[in-house]
């Protein structure tokens, strides 16, 4: 089920009302209800893959208990190995099997031998990259003795499949989300209103910004050779906003929905396009994934504690793995490599942690220097997105080459609608800038203004969502 579907428009109010009016008195019943609702939500896409979530949950539930109760280090390692093996095995099989076979066949053919392509044409189960990472963090944290396993199987299954964040994150840690299943949830008016604002902003990002940018992006990326460089430039910039609007929008809707049910999910995006360097960008983009890789891959590899060479190796690994996580395609790996190449100079010169705080924290506008930093970072990120968006490497190289052409000075060939979307993107940037000190842009916007102005803002956003929404468009991150 998509958030931006009529099904969800009916599904969620029913869940909300039953959750608070029927099941509130009994925590266990409320958790069971969340589990049922989550499975219904997921099965709307394809019920056959419910078994996969249930299997993954069951394996980690049992392994968690075994690791927690076992004192013998070897046995603990075995149970952890089973958990990781099952999750990574599922992920590897469904997501990467065809890629490895194709790549191997290509390599064999390049070496002059004959090998026939073979593909299982597997369907990628939606959300598998998200929930497998979530469950792995559970068993790893138990293994590290940071977390006690739960015996409440319903709460655990509900934690793994919690529908607001099941299919595209944020990838929650057990230490944050699971304990919330054991506490009585109380309805707070202010929290619910905050959730509604966040959902509204999420829909604006997805339906107004992302889906409308997508129209021009598809034109530019589907047929780059027939377009002037100025069109390609706009296509690339629009894609930057499309992917942010799409994924950031989804995260906001997920977190807002969680708030309406009394849960606190982690922040996943923190105004990444106002970053002053690539290191800051990665502290602000897809935070739940980058911190996951930091805690479960980078630090176990030694992090930055070893020699310079080891640190560089670890940085490279983490960026390449992060790219590969997004999909079984060389374009994602190169995208990760580009970011590694941009990050490493900062690391070598000890500049990767100089931009920690919020840009222009106490000022209305950035300085020229900050603006320059933001624009340079945005341009580099956009360059990386070209590889992310392109169907293959040659298309990405072709698109990038197409940008370096004298036709960059030509007036772009655009429909009036594209100018309209440009205005919308401008409005989006202004609102994001205005709200950059908060969790999401409109969280406290116009709070100290007269009610009519605040509600005028919400009214404007709702109308923009109503008027600019296109027919149900899937979220990009569903494919990961």
């Amino acid at each position: 089920m998509l958030f931006n579907s009529f099904e969800f428009l009916l599904f969620f109010p029913v869940v909300f009302l039953l959750y608070w009016f029927v099941f509130q008195r009994n925590l266990k019943a409320q958790n069971a209800f969340i589990l049922v609702a989550s499975y219904v939500f997921y099965s709307w896409w394809d019920w056959r893959f419910l078994g996969l979530i249930a299997f993954s949950s069951l394996v980690d539930y049992i392994c968690g208990l075994k690791i927690g109760s076992e004192e013998d280090t070897f046995k603990r390692k075995v149970y952890l190995g089973i958990s990781l093996g099952v999750n990574l095995g599922l992920l590897g099989f469904f997501k990467y099997f065809d890629f490895f076979i194709d790549s191997t066949v290509q390599m064999i053919n390049t070496m002059g031998f004959q090998a026939n392509p073979y593909s299982l044409q597997l369907i990628l189960p939606v959300g598998i990259s998200f929930y497998t990472f979530q469950t792995m963090s559970y068993t790893i944290d138990i293994y590290r003795r940071k977390f006690e396993p739960t015996k409440d199987i319903i709460a655990f299954f509900a934690y793994v499949s919690f529908f607001p964040q099941l299919v595209a994150g944020p990838i929650e840690r057990a230490s944050n989300l699971l304990p919330q299943f054991f506490k009585q949830r109380i309805f707070y008016y202010t929290k619910a209103m905050d959730g509604m604002r966040q959902i509204l902003w999420g829909f604006f990002m997805k339906l107004v910004i992302a889906d409308n940018c997508a129209v021009f992006v598809n034109q530019a990326f589907n047929n780059p050779e027939s377009q002037p460089a100025s069109n390609l430039l706009i296509g690339a910039v629009f894609f930057s906003f499309q992917i942010y609007g799409d994924f950031g929008g989804y995260s906001n809707i997920a977190i807002g929905t969680g708030k309406l049910l009394g849960f606190n999910l982690m922040q996943n995006f923190a105004f990444p396009y106002f970053s002053r360097d690539i290191a800051e960008f990665w502290r602000r983009w897809h935070i739940s994934l980058s911190t996951w890789f930091r805690d479960y891959v980078y630090i176990p590899l030694g992090g930055s504690k070893g020699s310079k060479y080891q640190s560089l190796r670890n940085i490279f690994i983490i960026f390449l793995v992060s790219g590969f996580w997004h999909g079984a395609n060389w374009t994602f790996i190169i995208w990760g490599g580009i970011h590694a190449a941009l990050f490493i100079p900062l690391y070598l010169f000890g500049k990767n942690r100089i931009n920690i705080g919020i840009v222009s924290q106490n000022k209305a506008f950035p300085s020229f220097y900050e603006l320059g930093q933001i624009l340079v970072t945005f341009s580099l990120v956009t360059l990386g997105w070209i590889f992310f968006r392109s169907p293959d490497l040659s298309a990405a190289v072709g698109y990038t080459q197409g940008l370096f052409d004298m036709s960059i000075f030509q007036m772009p060939q655009m429909d009036i609608r594209v100018y309209l979307f440009m205005i919308l993107v401008m409005v989006f940037i202004v609102l994001e800038w205005g709200g950059r000190r908060e969790e999401f842009a409109i969280q406290k916007m116009a709070f100290h203004k007269p009610v009519i102005i605040r509600y005028g803002l919400y009214y404007g956003l709702v109308m923009a969502v109503f008027l600019f929404a296109r027919k149900e468009q899937e979220f990009i991150y569903f494919q990961f």
């Binding site: 309805f187 008016y189 009036i416 309209l420 109503f466 008027l467 929404a469 296109r470």
Partner: protein
């Protein structure tokens, strides 16, 4: 909780009302079909696919035939996907047709596509492709605004309704159901479009086969309308290259013979003797001037015939 729900409800009222107002602004410029489901029941209908939607202008016929027929014609044609003859289209036609005491006529456009299907079993109406399209889904065909169509089938974003009222636009559904669309008439572009359509139809052709079931629904349509007034069958002109492809759609039967059988069976008139002197945007759809000329010629033929 009550405060939250009350606030949400009160706030929702304003955007919903505004959106409703926007829906009322749609005047046939933002969507090529919507308007046909918002007008009242009609006295007389013109049926067919997109060729007919663009090619027959009811107001011209109504003007020419006003001394002969009392019922005003309305163009209720859609596309080759939505309105081939079948149960869905017939049902929709029945809903759109008003009870009328005066004299009226109906124009039913036929070409090989309209009695063919691209499904594996072309004689199984349960599987007809239009069963999943708006012609089957929209039960209320006279509702303004037509919310089901707007929510489910309106192909664009709703801001287009406002934009199309401000911007000079190329297409519009008129009050008589005619779909007017303006395309550049540059010869090179036109030839490119014709070449594209020839190529497209060639591919399209491979999937299509004659449907005896569709023919029987065409007969049911003729029979139903014949009980209400005079029925004229027409086949609209197309570019010669397209005509050659069209004539290959039905291989099992002779199309002209099928039409001959219909004429005899229902005692209706088949108006097919037009000189192919018209101009097309793409080989299939008549340009505006040709649509006017064709409608005038059609009106003259009906007029001559009834005299």
């Amino acid at each position: 909780m009550n405060r939250f729900l009350a606030k949400l409800l009160i706030f929702s009222f304003f955007p919903v009302v505004t959106l409703y107002g926007v829906f009322l602004l749609e005047n046939g410029t933002a969507d090529p079909f919507y308007q046909r489901f918002t007008t009242p029941k009609q006295e007389a209908l013109i049926l067919g696919n997109s060729k007919v939607a663009q090619g027959i202008i009811p107001s011209i016929l109504n003007e020419e035939l006003k001394g002969i027929y009392d019922g005003k014609l309305y163009n209720y044609s859609f596309t080759v996907y939505n309105s081939p003859y079948g149960p869905a289209y017939l049902e929709s036609v029945k809903k759109k047709l008003a009870d009328f005491e005066g004299k009226r006529c109906f124009i039913i456009a036929i070409d090989p596509w309209s009695i063919s299907s691209d499904i594996n079993d072309p004689n199984n109406p349960d599987k007809f492709e239009e069963n999943l399209l708006f012609i089957s889904d929209i039960e209320e065909v006279t509702e303004k605004p037509n919310l089901k169509y707007l929510f489910k089938w309106f192909i664009k974003s709703y801001y287009e309704i406002i934009l199309m009222r401000i911007k000079e636009n190329q297409s519009k559904i008129h009050e008589d159901g005619w779909y007017e669309t303006r395309q550049p008439l540059d010869e090179t572009i036109q030839n490119e479009r014709i070449a594209f359509m020839v190529n497209y139809y060639e591919k399209y052709l491979l999937k299509y086969s004659f449907s005896r079931k569709r023919l029987s629904y065409l007969e049911e349509t003729i029979s139903f309308l014949k009980s209400k007034g005079d029925v004229f069958l027409v086949r609209l002109p197309v570019h010669n290259e397209i005509l050659a492809i069209e004539n290959r759609v039905i291989e099992e039967e002779d199309f002209n013979e099928l039409m001959g059988n219909l004429i005899n069976k229902f005692n209706v008139t088949f108006l097919n003797n037009f000189q192919n002197r018209y101009n097309f945007y793409d080989g299939v759809h008549l340009d505006i001037e040709s649509a006017k000329a064709y409608s005038q010629e059609l009106a003259n033929q009906i007029s001559n015939f009834t005299e």
